[in-house]
């Protein structure tokens, strides 16, 4: 029941918001926070249930082979926790900035939240596709919400490329259905072992291509820099922090359940894509002048790290990938919120224009410094620990090249984050000339955003230190083991 509630509550909120708007012109921020809290608690309750005793919920009581099953196991719980924290933070930032005014924004937001929970909890391939499309449509609209020409162009390109990805997923689903006649993921895991080789190749190519387009890996990442840089601050943070991770979850689920025993080259392809993303993302970020576009390319590179972890096709790799996913959400959301606020204060998004911020906003710059140290991978932050786990698991899979690529990526990312920090710290023209600013501006209080950024930075440090403790490693190891344990998943759903 909790699993269904996690999906239904946000969807209900999304549908109720237009009615509330009809009743009174502006919604109160309090109402939206209550709806947000309710949705997030439902998701957390589902996560809690799934963690301690994996749960299956068969919709309408139909058996798995003809109905839709909702499955909550440890992998889903981990990602549910991630999306709850991420969307809670983004909702708080959006509320602080806009208040309750833009009702369409919040309607889309809750639609997004509901469909994300749907993707994370579903056990049926076509149901995954449906929720994925709802999620994508809401994402396209949120990207284009500010209606500036950049946002519209980014939204259009995201839409076209995302729809192509969805088409390939649909094609893969179609082929799967034609080959096996079932669409339930657990039953497919058994059925896919006995279909002809060429069909399996076609299915895996279509599914992997479609899912990789949505995650923004290198050769197919082109929508990502535009979309993540043109959106508003809270939306960028949500996109880079949470939406990409849900796409990663979909990729992990599909690849581990369908292809772990049947088609090993899928994982080789994912490793290659991951390595290319690391190099391409970092090298492109080195050349950027726009801070949000730079952070978007940094996301492409970090997705590469996660893909390298997934490509190891082992429990260790899965655990390392999930850990890095979690860390990246914390780091990238903090970075985007800081960058968004600082560029609003300065009125520009160019790095060379963002000077003198150490004098005016020292705590923001300090938080940015901590978060960038974490994302570059300096010990003892969490970014270093998850990078180390990924290197360890790829060494365990027997390859050296991804680990060396990650080492090179560390140096390149240190280069561009240092560039941003040195721009922040340099004095800048306004303060050195000593003249009063021509237009006196009241400094905007962004205490909630700062509280979120500060707590994320602190969490980075804490998680990094905690990663040494056995209890913590036990948690992530169990997530990894659940991810690759196909028999357990099948047994859970079919009851065998």
């Amino acid at each position: 029941m909790t699993l269904v509630l996690a999906i239904m509550l946000p969807l209900l909120s999304a549908f109720l918001i237009p009615f509330f708007h009809l009743a009174r012109k502006t919604l109160s921020a309090g109402l939206i926070s209550i709806m947000g809290l309710a949705s997030i608690s439902a998701a957390l309750a589902a996560a809690y249930t799934g963690w301690y005793s994996p749960a299956v919920s068969l919709m309408g009581g139909w058996a798995p082979d003809i109905g839709i099953a909702l499955v909550g196991d440890r992998l889903s719980s981990a990602f549910l926790l991630l999306t709850s924290i991420g969307s809670g933070a983004a909702l708080a930032c959006a509320l602080e900035k806009f208040g309750g005014g833009p009702w369409r924004f919040y309607a889309l937001f809750f639609l997004l939240l509901g469909s994300m929970n749907g993707i994370l909890l579903t056990g049926d391939l076509f149901n995954l596709f449906v929720f994925y499309e709802i999620f994508s449509v809401a994402a396209y609209l949120l990207v284009a919400f500010s209606m500036s020409w950049q946002a519209l162009e980014a939204g259009l390109k995201y839409l076209v490329l995302g729809t192509i990805g969805a088409l390939f997923i649909l094609l893969g689903t179609a082929f799967t259905f034609m080959a096996t006649g079932v669409l339930n993921m657990a039953l497919l895991a058994e059925a896919l072992a006995s279909i002809p080789r060429e069909t399996l190749t076609a299915i895996s190519a279509c599914l992997v291509l479609g899912l990789t387009i949505k995650t923004g890996a290198f050769p197919v990442h082109f929508w990502l820099p535009d979309a993540h840089s043109s959106a508003q601050t809270a939306v960028s943070a949500l996109l880079s922090g949470v939406l990409i991770k849900v796409s990663i979850y979909a990729l992990m689920r599909v690849c581990y359940i369908f292809f772990l025993g049947t088609n090993g080259t899928v994982f080789l392809a994912i490793t290659v894509t991951g390595s290319l993303s690391v190099l391409g993302g970092h090298l492109m970020a080195l050349r950027q002048d726009d801070i949000k576009r730079l952070l978007a390319y940094s996301t492409v590179a970090q997705i590469g790290y996660i893909l390298i972890g997934i490509g190891c096709a082992s429990a260790a790799g899965a655990a390392a990938a999930v850990f890095h996913t979690f860390n990246h959400m914390l780091m990238k959301m903090g970075l985007f919120i800081t960058a968004g606020n600082l560029s609003e204060e300065k009125g520009t998004r160019e790095i060379c224009g963002l000077t003198g911020l150490w004098k005016s906003h020292p705590v923001w710059v300090a938080a940015f410094a901590v978060l960038s140290a974490a994302i570059v991978g300096m010990p003892p932050m969490n970014g270093f620990m998850s990078k180390w786990f990924i290197i360890l698991s790829s060494a365990g899979a027997g390859t050296v090249i991804p680990a060396l690529v990650i080492a090179a990526g560390t140096v390149i990312s240190a280069a561009y984050y240092l560039r941003i920090l040195s721009a922040f710290i340099s004095p800048g023209e306004g303060s050195s000339s000593g003249l009063p600013p021509s237009v006196p501006r009241k400094p905007r209080r962004r205490s909630i955003s700062f509280a979120i950024v500060g707590s994320f930075a602190l969490l980075c440090l804490v998680l990094g230190v905690m990663a040494f403790s056995p209890f913590f490693r036990e948690c992530f190891s169990s997530i990894g083991q659940t991810a690759v344990d196909v028999e357990a998943y099948v047994g859970l759903v079919t009851g065998r």
């Binding site: 003809i66 076509f126 596709f129 449906v130 499309e133 709802i134 449509v137 396209y140 609209l141 284009a144 209606m147 020409w149 950049q150 519209l152 162009e153 980014a154 939204g155 259009l156 390109k157 839409l159 076209v160 729809t163 192509i164 969805a166 088409l167 649909l170 094609l171 689903t173 179609a174 259905f177 034609m178 669409l183 820099p225 535009d226 840089s229 043109s230 050349r287 950027q288 576009r293």
Partner: protein
Amino acid sequence: MILLSYATAIIIFCIGLYTIMVRRNLFKTVLGLALMESAVLLIIVSSGYIPGGVPPIAPFSGQAVNPLPHAFTLTAIVIGASDIALALAFIVKLHRHYRTVDLDRIRGLRG
């Protein structure tokens, strides 16, 4: 297994693919996407066909074709329609800024 349906679907898919890769008009790109979508849906529907089957509308006698693909296709048609509608809305708004629907001119975001 209707061979003609599958062949048609593949041809339509390739036409759609050609359109989105080659044509510069944004409307044609959207139409190409719709074509590709329709092709995939045609494949899905025809996969459920059983020779000599009757439509799966109760009451029926004899064997019915598989109704599951029909359900998928209906859902996917709805999804496709909303995607296309959104794309067209984007095109209209974008046209107000760029004054053109030529894809090679709509490249403000680059690098």
